[in-house]
């Protein structure tokens, strides 16, 4: 993945880099990209999941019926959870809503937060990058395997391989940088997925939400959580009063503890340690070492 990062400096432009000074974004500018997921037109066919695996050359093991029963997966879900070799997963939930029984489907993968918790938590310079188009990507060559990206993620997305390297959706950055749409979008048969500039996607999403409201889905919402600065995947959720039932957090945000340990605590640590070194040094030069009898000789008894 490192070639992408290197190429990205000129090719895609970098917006943020983990544990590194913010890049100068005045040189290049590129508008934010997004994928609009219109759940109201999703039929749950999982073609996007298949296309994702095909494009990324992933072969997650197929679950046996026994495994499916054991793990209590309701209905149609292919796997219980994301895996290092499964970047996206269609999640299915059955719930009672105000409009009666509903089958809630969610396309679940990295959300490409514009304020990425993984990038903020990552201590290794350059291991997580965000391109100017908003896409968040990992660079395994710079990753030390500390798993802090999972700790920082508000959506519980990164999954680790046997070397503790994280894997997740990379928004098909290789396709996108070549002018193609992501594999999932390309394959979607119902145009539930749309790819384009974020501004346009927000506009289109809002139109669909308004139409849904007219059709009686009073709680329909456009899911673009502000707590993480908005996301690269935005969702039209017909049952906006059941966000959690879509397996999405209702108010995702970067946890206060992360800001605490990346900010004030690091400063405090610097002061405490340099302070201790300076204090020891001052003791040495002001009073000198604490010598026996102040340095005077005494005869052994």
């Amino acid at each position: 993945m490192s070639t992408l990062t290197t190429g990205g400096t000129v090719g895609l432009g970098l917006k943020r880099v983990s544990a590194t000074k913010e890049p100068d974004t005045k040189i290049k500018s590129y508008p934010e990209l997004a994928i609009l997921v219109d759940i109201s037109s999703c039929i749950g066919c999982k073609a996007c999941e298949a296309a994702c695996q095909q494009w990324h050359d992933l072969t997650p093991p197929i679950m046996t019926p026994e495994e499916v029963v054991e793990r209590k997966i309701a209905g149609y879900q292919s796997h219980p959870d994301l895996r290092p070799d499964l970047f996206m997963l269609m999640k299915f939930n059955e719930v009672e809503t105000q409009r009666g029984f509903a089958w809630l489907i969610t396309k679940y993968q990295c959300m490409h937060c514009r304020e990425p918790g993984c990038l903020i938590a990552c201590p290794s310079p350059g291991a997580v990058v965000q391109y100017q188009n908003g896409v968040v990507d990992f660079d395994h060559s710079k990753c030390i395997g500390c798993k802090m990206c999972l700790v920082g993620c508000p959506f519980d997305v990164p999954r680790y391989d046997s070397n503790n390297k994280p894997w997740k959706c990379n928004f098909c950055i290789d396709r996108v940088s070549a002018g193609l749409e992501p594999a999932c979008v390309k394959t979607c048969p119902t145009q539930c997925l749309t790819f384009g500039f974020k501004e346009d996607m927000l506009e289109k999403g809002q139109k669909i939400v308004n139409a849904l409201k007219e059709r009686g889905y009073k709680n329909a919402v456009l899911y673009n959580p502000e707590g993480v600065g908005g996301t690269g995947y935005i969702y039209v959720l017909p049952h906006g009063d059941h966000i959690e039932d879509y397996s999405l957090p209702s108010k995702p945000h970067i946890d206060a503890s992360i800001a605490l340990w990346k900010g004030p605590l690091k400063t405090l640590g610097s002061f405490a340690l340099w302070g201790a070194i300076i204090a020891a040094f001052l003791q040495l030069v002001i009073w000198g070492p604490i010598k026996v009898l102040g340095g005077k000789e005494e005869k052994e008894e």
């Binding site: 201590p123 503890s257 690091k266 070492p289």
Partner: protein, 210 residues
Amino acid sequence: MAVGSTKFPGEIERFSALDRILHWASAVAFLYCFFSGIGIAYPKFSWLLTVLGGGEFARWLHPWAGVVFSIGAILMFLKWARNMVLTSEDIAFLTRIKAYISGKHEELPEAGKFNGGQKLYAWVVFISAFLFFLSGIAMWFPENFDVGLVRWAVVLHTLTFIVAGAFTVIHIYMGTIGVPGSIWGMIGGKVSSTWAKFHHPKWYKEVRER
């Protein structure tokens, strides 16, 4: 019998071989954790990771070194905790620490085998090892814990580092150039009688009376 006094009349044993091995095993493990932790937490010091075997290796060894340190701390606790109970004299020592560091020795209460500062550091080590271990386990296996818990474990790990790290800087200074002669207690185990009488008069008397 004064320990070793027949052979070396001017020296008395301060730390047994087992004490010394425990101390240095814990010390080496702690220092590895200390420097690799700084390298991981502070990008400006990520070059430390290169020195310690590379980022991936340092991140792999850090928790194992932590386990060694934790075991060392437990054993040191079992062996030394009784000697480390803080008395009112130790509190008096700590409140008048300025007299100690400025060489006005005579103003302070006589110290036993360990003075108030050493006892305080011992408790910093015992307690920090416990907190490092608890929070470290959550950070080592974040998938197996509630993510909210892991996030605050990082905060706890950092806070513990700040206290234990600053105290350790002082400990290393005092054990080497700050208090000349004390290093031999941990290297070879014997200190000069003069040193013992001056820095730990009560302990010196106890040893002599034995």
